[in-house]
């Protein structure tokens, strides 16, 4: 009897599939939209049969998983698309070693860059590494394909890449879970000729990889992961992943070939489909991966000429593309209900939370007229108004190395500061700090240490003092680490405006590599911090707007004015009581909410 269907996100369904496949070790680094896979896996496994960990970075995570695989265990590793860049060194050689237990790498792309710095199409990695690539199209397939991926991995002795995207990973759909399988008994079997990639061995393994790809090409046609929806023969659409859902939504009568295993391509399946229709259109998000491969097979196809290569697809864009291709009538477009008048919505960019400890160091850096090489995290929002205190943000850990280069360029006429969060520093900042110290480059590194991976929802990291399951763990002492490396290091409380300012002033004036650690826990995670809120004494406020420059969402304008300017008010429901605005206020108009005025309990 079938289990009742439950609503699972794609990420939860991957975790469920991994449990059903008997996964034994799972590792990853948090990154939107992949983060919830490991969190769900830990939740689904209260008996702790599976080792689930947040690794220091994606490279470490894939190494942990590969090691577990060589030990005979089924291993899962998860990351966002840019995480695969970090893991790519191992990812490119793991197909040479092959696996012991099944090894599945899940990569979640972020087309449209909802929460990312680029929108690379990770499917290209599968071809570059020579590994099979599975593309689930909804939650049910996330579960099913994860189970299939482990089987393919062991059958063909290869890592398998499963690629999702935001609208798969963060979309919920109905899934019928199957029975969970306990991890099997593992044993490491030494095979130096397979696992030691000295050139002599690697040359033989390269041939084994190519031979395996031939076998996978044959398997691709018989894997049972593709689907043909027979319809009109005028146009046949070849698609994969989320694009399939949009195609079926806007074009329910078309003939559609939905590919589940997209590398290697199932050549016979595609040829048979192309022969059954008069014209073939490829609909895919981001890069023309399928389109170019189909053309290489000699199949005349159309695709990206009708569909954008940037951003997410959605039903409108697929419909517009198919109309442009002549496959749909223009009347297929819908018209919205008429909104009233000329009213339009205001912009609402993400902002730092009320009481965020990242704010004050950026106020100080701007006052010090520093050039700030930024990094990846909540604090990247300091690039926006009103803080406007960041000059670059590229990749995890880039801030420190880029600061070194900028300092060496001769183009910096102001102090050069790298601003990096604690999790990002541990992820990829340490080698760059070593580089700065050992090459004697004069930079200042500001470590914004809030003890958590805040941007992705507050995951523990090596400096948090807890592991993924919330158990106490040894915390890396970032200050001691920096001092050991040889940087002059100072720890400061970023809620103390004057102390933070002075510490950064001293740091940029010091001759060598200086580190300032702004040490305050995140106000939202692991627990919400709410002190007594502050309020504005209306007749003291001179409406100077100095506090508004903090960009705090709790600071708003009231209805009263001073010399024509709006005076401010503080929303006490959201104020965290961090005191920063009160420290800045030149007229001491911001004070703790008075308890005296509160009504007595009866």
């Amino acid at each position: 009897m079938d289990a009742p269907a439950v609503l699972l996100s794609g990420n939860e369904a991957i975790a469920q599939g991994a449990r059903e496949a008997g996964v034994h070790v799972a590792a990853g680094y948090p990154g939107t939209p992949s983060t919830e896979i490991l969190e769900a896996l830990a939740r689904l496994d209260p008996d702790r049969r599976v080792h689930v960990e947040w690794s220091t970075n994606e490279k470490v995570a894939i190494d942990v998983a590969l090691g577990a695989s060589l030990g005979g265990s089924r291993a899962l590793v998860t990351m966002k698309h840019v995480g695969l860049n970090v893991a790519s060194d191992t990812f490119m050689t793991a197909p040479y070693t092959g696996v012991g237990g099944g090894l599945v790498i899940v990569v979640a792309d972020d087309p449209g860059m909802h929460s990312s710095q680029n929108e690379q199409d990770s499917r290209a990695y599968a071809r570059m590494a020579g590994v099979p690539l599975l593309e689930p199209a909804d939650s049910a397939e996330c579960r099913e394909f994860t189970i299939a991926a482990f089987a393919i991995s062991e059958r063909f002795d290869t890592p398998v890449l499963v690629r999702t995207a935001t609208r798969i990973a963060h979309a919920r759909g109905l899934v019928r879970p199957g029975p969970v399988r306990a991890p099997g008994v593992s044993k490491f079997v030494p095979q130096p000729a397979k696992y030691v990639m000295l050139p002599g061995n690697a040359r033989r393994r390269r041939l084994a990889l190519l031979e395996r790809l031939r076998a996978l090409e044959r398997f691709a046609d018989e894997c049972g992961l593709h689907r043909v929806d027979q319809g009109d023969v005028d146009v046949g659409i070849v698609t994969s992943g989320i694009a399939y859902q949009y195609v079926r939504e806007v074009c329910p009568r078309a003939s559609v070939l939905k590919l589940g295993l997209t590398h290697p391509l199932p050549a016979a399946t595609v040829r048979a489909f192309a022969d059954s229709v008069r014209r073939v259109i490829v609909v895919e998000e981001l890069e023309p991966c399928l389109e170019e491969r189909l053309r290489a097979l000699g199949i005349p196809v159309e695709g990206k000429v009708f569909f954008p290569a940037d951003g997410e697809l959605n039903p409108e864009r697929v419909r517009d593309g198919l109309i442009a291709a002549g496959a749909l009538r223009p009347s297929a477009r819908r018209r919205a209900a008429p909104a009233d008048g000329e009213v339009s919505a205001g912009v609402r960019p993400p902002v730092l939370c009320p009481g965020c400890p990242h704010v004050v160091p950026f106020v100080a850096l701007r006052d010090l007229d520093a050039i700030v090489m930024g990094d990846i995290g909540c604090y990247t929002l300091a690039a926006n108004e009103p803080l406007s205190a960041m000059d670059s943000c590229v990749a995890m850990g880039s801030s420190i190395g880029m600061a070194c280069g900028l300092a060496r360029s001769g183009g910096a006429d102001r102090p050069v500061v790298a601003a990096i969060g604690d999790s990002t520093f541990l992820h990829a900042g340490i080698p760059a700090l070593i580089d700065a110290v050992c090459n004697g480059t004069r930079i200042t590194v500001l470590v914004l240490d809030n003890r958590t991976t805040a941007m992705t929802g507050g995951q523990a990291h090596a400096g948090s003092g807890a592991n993924l399951r919330g158990d106490p763990a040894r915390a890396i002492d970032i200050a001691a680490l920096c001092r050991t490396i040889g940087a002059s290091t100072e720890v400061v409380d970023p809620y103390d405006v004057a102390a933070t300012h002075r510490a950064l002033e001293r740091a940029v004036a010091s001759p060598g590599v200086s580190v300032v650690i702004a040490d305050r826990p995140c106000v939202e995670s692991p627990r919400k911090i709410r002190e007594r809120p502050y309020e504005v004494v209306t007749d003291r406020c001179v409406a100077c707007q100095l506090c508004v420059d903090l960009g705090c969402p709790s600071i708003l304008w009231g209805n009263d004015r001073f010399e024509g300017r709006p005076i401010v008010t503080i929303e006490t429901e959201t104020c965290s009581g961090c005191t920063v605005c009160a420290q800045l206020c030149p007229t001491e108009a911001i004070v703790p909410v008075a308890l005296a005025g509160a009504p007595l309990a009866s």
Binding site: L7, P33, T35, H114, S115, T166, R167, H170, A171, R172, G173, L174, I242, Q245, Y246, E249, N314, P315, R334, R335, A336, A337, P338, A339, D340, V343, S344, A345, G346, V347, R348, P349, P350, V351, C353, D367, C378, L381, E385, P386, M455, T456, G457, V542, C544, Q545, L546, V548, G551, P553, I555, L556, W557, N559, R561, E563, G564, R565, P566, P586
Partner: protein, 275 residues
């Protein structure tokens, strides 16, 4: 059926959409729900699409195809309205969450926030003060449950699907207040398209920038720098010259912090003469 739920981080958009999706699942529909995490939770826009029916393909609702738009906040209601199909219904809370970015025009004090408007014969807009209704039901944070109650009148699932879904997703401690808020929402009678007007901040016309007078001989220069640091608009800087200079005079709001704090009386702000 396609329901778009929108709001601001922290308003319970995801919870509300989970309840709708779960209620639809309980009565046997195929369901998909899609949302965006990540940066959106930092006080940004939160959008969740719920679709149900016999078979659901796309997890996203196309513009102009939502049967119901549910907005926990007025600005986001305005943003989401292009998703509503002709003949669909928009349910909106009149709560205003003004983003810090809307407070940029400091001299005029003008808040860039969309004004309220009413529905029309062609636009079925049902707006209410959901926060106040929830507060009266015992918990102001249950405003999303008030809106769910209003939605439940449009999407009458059989049996107790709505209540079971609510109980499955709301934390036990807050369930009673949420159930009362849900019931209050079922009883909301919005005169079609007649939301109660909210008071707006008084607005003054934009005045010309005041004049900044600096006496260079009295300025101690970069060693002091108090005025540069206190200026909220960053109008002042040491531009290579020994005395401070006004580098962005047009941004001056006339707050006089520089004048007040200058230990050498080197700065005077002259109000612009009204035209």
């Amino acid at each position: 059926m396609s329901v778009l739920i929108v709001g601001v981080g922290g308003q319970g958009v995801i919870l509300a959409s989970a309840v709708i999706a779960d209620a639809a699942r309980r009565v046997g529909h195929d369901v998909k729900q899609s949302e965006v995490h990540g940066m959106a939770q930092r006080g940004g826009v939160v959008t969740s699409h719920v679709r149900y029916g016999s078979v659901v393909r796309s997890p996203l609702i196309a513009a102009g195809e939502a049967d119901v738009v549910v907005a926990c906040e007025w600005n986001e209601a305005v943003r989401a309205l292009p998703y509503l199909r002709r003949g669909g219904t928009a349910i909106a809370s009149l709560e205003r969450i003004v983003p810090p970015r809307a407070l940029a025009d400091r001299r005029s004090g003008r808040v860039s926030y969309p004004p309220l408007f009413e529905g029309s014969a062609a636009l079925d807009l049902r707006a209410c003060d959901a926060v106040d209704i929830a507060r009266q039901a015992g918990n102001a944070k249950a405003a999303n449950a008030v809106l769910l109650g209003m939605v439940s009148m449009l999407l009458p699932f059989p049996g107790d699907a709505w209540r079971e879904a609510l109980a499955a997703h709301v934390p036990a401690g807050a369930l009673a207040a949420n159930e009362r808020a849900f019931d209050a929402g079922r009883g909301v009678r919005t005169a079609r398209g007649r939301p109660r007007r909210l008071a707006h901040a008084a607005e003054a016309p934009a005045a010309a920038a005041p004049a900044i007078e600096i006496v260079p001989a009295w300025c101690k220069g970069v060693e002091c720098g108090v005025c540069v640091r206190v200026c909220p608009e960053r109008c002042l800087a040491f531009d290579g010259s020994p005395a401070v200079s006004a580098v962005r005079p047009a941004a001056c709001t006339g707050c006089r912090l520089c004048e007040t704090f200058c230990p050498d009386f080197a700065i005077t702000i002259h109000e612009a003469v009204p035209a």
